[in-house]
Amino acid sequence: MHRILERQIKHSLGDLKLEEISNEWKTFLIAVSDTYTHGDQDRALLDNSLELSSKEFVIINKKLKEENIIIEQKVEERTKDLDQEKTKLKKILESMTTGVLFLDNNGVFSFANNAILRILGVEDVSATMDTFLQFFSSISSPEYINKALVGESINIYEVEVKSKIYSVLFEPLEIETGVFGVLIWINDVTEQKLLDRSKNQFIAIASHEMRTPLAIIRGNAELLLDDEIIKQNTEQKEGIKSILKNSIRLLGIVNDFLNVQNMEENKKLPKKEEVNIAEILQNVINDCQPMKVTKGLYIVADSSFTLEMPIFIIDHEYLQQIAINLISNAIHYTKKGGITLSLEKHADSINVLFTDTGVGISPEDQLVLFKKFGTGKSFMKTKEYGSGLGLYISSFLAEKIGASLVLQKSEIDVGSTFCLTLPLTLAK
C-alpha cells in the first residue's frame, strides 16, 4: 500500500489489520493506493520534463545571447559603415561648388552645404533659409518650394543678384511613398553667362560690321547693272551679276547668324493667332517663285491644299519662316524637277510635307542635319550653299510653337521629304 495512504489510515483509524476488513473495502483501498501511486508517477514525469525544458531553455538562452552579441557586433559594424557613408556623402555635398539646401517634407530647412553658406554669406546656419529667401527675393521661392513639395521640378536659369548670375533649381526628392523633401541647387553661372554674352556680342558686332560693306557691294553691283554700256557688254554684265548674287548670298548668311542669335536670346513667346495653314503656305510658295527663276524649277502645292483643314492657333510668322527656310533649302539642293508641298490629315495631327527632287541626303549627313552648322558632306557637292543654319532654325522654330520637324525620307539623287507635324492640340 502507498505509504501516504498507510499513514492516513493509521492516523484516522489506528492500526488496521487487512484481514479484519471486508473484501469490498480491501479492493477499494487497493484502488485508492494505485491512484496515489499513479499520481506519484505523473508528478515524477512532470518534474522530469520540467527539468529537461529548463535545461533546454538554458541552452537556447545561451545560444540567443551568443547570437545577440554577433548581431550587436554586426549592427555596430553596419552603423559604422553607414556613418562612414554619411560622412562621405556629407563630404561630397560639402566639397561641391554647387550650393545645396535641403528642406524636409514640410518645407522646413534641414541641411545646407558650405557652398551655399559661402554664396549667401551666411555664418549662422540657422539663418540660412531666411537669408536664402532674402538673397533671391527677385524670384518667388516659397511658391516654387510648394510646387516642388508636390513633385514639380522648377529650374530658374538666370537670377541676377549683386552683379552675379545664378541658376536655381527646386528639385523634389521622391521615393515610392511620395515626396520626402526638396533640394534647392544653386549654381554660380556668372562666367558662363558672361562668356555667352560676349560670344553673342561678337557675332552681333561682326555681323553688323559685315553688313555695311556687303550693302555697298550689293548696291554698286545693282547700280552698274542699270548702266546702259554695261547692259550691252555680256561678259561684264555676267561678272557684275555674279558679284550681286554672291553679295546677296553673303548677306543671307550674315542674316542667318543674326537670326539664330536673336532667336536663341529671344525670351518673347510666340504669338497665338488663328492661322489658315494652307493660305500661309500658298503665300510662301508665291513669294518663293522668284528664287527659282534661273533654274527652271517648279514650286507647287498639290491637290491636298483644297481639302478643308482645321484653323490652328499658332504664330503665323513662325510657320512662314519654317516654310521659307525649307523651300529655299530645297531650291539650293535641287538641280531639276522641283518642290511639292502637300497636307496630310491624321487622327491627331496635320502634316505638312515638303518634297523635293534634289540631291538627297546620305544617312551619315542625316545624323547632323538639324544640328547647328550641319550642312554635311552634300555641302561640298552643290554649287550654292548656305550658312548651315536653315534646318537648325526651322526645327528650333517648330519646337517653339509646339510642332516638330523631321526628315521623313531621303534618297541620293532622288530627293528628300521633310515633314512638319502640327498636332491637333494646337488647332482651334
Binding site: H208, V254, L258
Partner: protein
Amino acid sequence: MENTKSKILLVDDETDIIILYKMKLEKAGFRVSTALNGEESLVIAAKEQPDLILMDMKMPIMDGITAQKRLRADKETAGLRVVFLTAFSDPMNLEVDKDMLIGDGVLGFIKKGVSLEEFVDEVKKYLSI
C-alpha cells in the same frame, strides 16, 4: 510727283554708302544733301530743312541717336522727321534708350543691305507718312 522733289538729308560716316545712296536717290529724282556724322547733320538739317533725314546709327564724333535727341531739343529742327539707316538686324534690341528709337520724329528703320529698289520704295513710303 511731289514726292520726287523732296529734299533728303543722308547722314553716314561711310563715304561709300553716301555715294551709293546719293546716286540712287538722285536717279529716283530726289534732292540729296549729305553729312558725315551726327554733329554735321545738325547744322545742315537746320539750314536745309529736309523733308526726311536718313540717319546712320553708329558714327564717330556724334552717333545717330544723340543727333536725333539734339534735333528734338532744338526748336529749329524739332519738327524734322528721321528714319534710321542701320546695319543692325534688330535695332529695337540694342541697349539704348528705346524712346529715342520710336515716336517723336522717328518714323522707322531702313536696314542696310536691302536692294536699291527696296531702299527707294522705303524712302518713298516714309515720305508719304
